[in-house]
Amino acid sequence: MPTQEEKAQDEMLVRDMKAGQMEAFDKIFELYQRKIYALAFNMTRNQMDAQDVTQEVLLTIYRKIDTFQGKSAFSSWVYRITLNATYMKLRNKKKEQYVSLDEGLPNFNHAGFQNEKVSDWSKSTDSLLFSNETKGVIEKAVELLPEKEKVVFMLRDVEGLSTEKVGEILDLTIPAVKSRLHRARLFLRKKLSSYFDEYQTRSSKK
């Protein structure tokens, strides 16, 4: 969540911008361009698209600032505009891929206990983290997430926003945010498990 000072600063900048002060826009540009670009880039994985989205969002902030009524935080408004512009980009580019998130769940027996062996690879990822192969596997897995789950995962786990803030940005209830987040994490965990299990088998054969 933004701190009280950040919120107060945003409110002041919005007021000044509405009063026609260009310096306020310049300041907003400095404060927000990285956030806008990072979210757009992580959603599209494309530098050109992220640049286009950032430009469009800056223009929208400038043109539509009068329509911002302050019902939610300014930062939430900026994130929402960013996501709308990003969705337009994605829509123009590719057909939605349908991936079933159900495969993220483990197998349970009839009593609800786990049926399969669960290996704990969480302690052995350090040396792998910065390899390009690992990075590629993670990026690919995140890319496979359906849009609804991906956006929640990006805002909550990657950008590190609070669950409440994500709910405000996406106009979702807290349980809905958590449910999408959980599904995304289960799916990604499963993908990473396959990779790390295979990696451990590969290394032990060497």
Partner: protein
């Protein structure tokens, strides 16, 4: 005792710290007796960490920064 399926359904709330104390306690009881769920918990947590470390920080590349400044100058500051 709660089963593994219930345990996994509660993980998100467990990490958010929003479970009521009784449910959190029964979850922790389950972990004491269930190594597969402990492995699941650790890898669930690690999944978020790994993704965050891989996907952040995103810095704006220098050529894009120049383009953005030009864009603001041409379309916003003096349209």
């Amino acid at each position: 005792m709660i089963c593994c399926k219930e345990c996994i359904d509660l993980l998100c709330d467990y990490f958010e710290g929003t479970l009521d104390p009784a449910t959190a306690a029964s979850l922790e009881d389950h972990f004491k007796d269930c190594p597969p769920c402990v492995s699941f918990l650790e890898t669930y947590r690690q999944t978020s960490d790994l993704c965050r470390k891989t996907l952040t920080p995103v810095e704006i590349p220098e050529p894009v920064q120049i383009k953005l400044r030009e864009f603001v100058k041409n379309h916003i500051q003096s349209p």
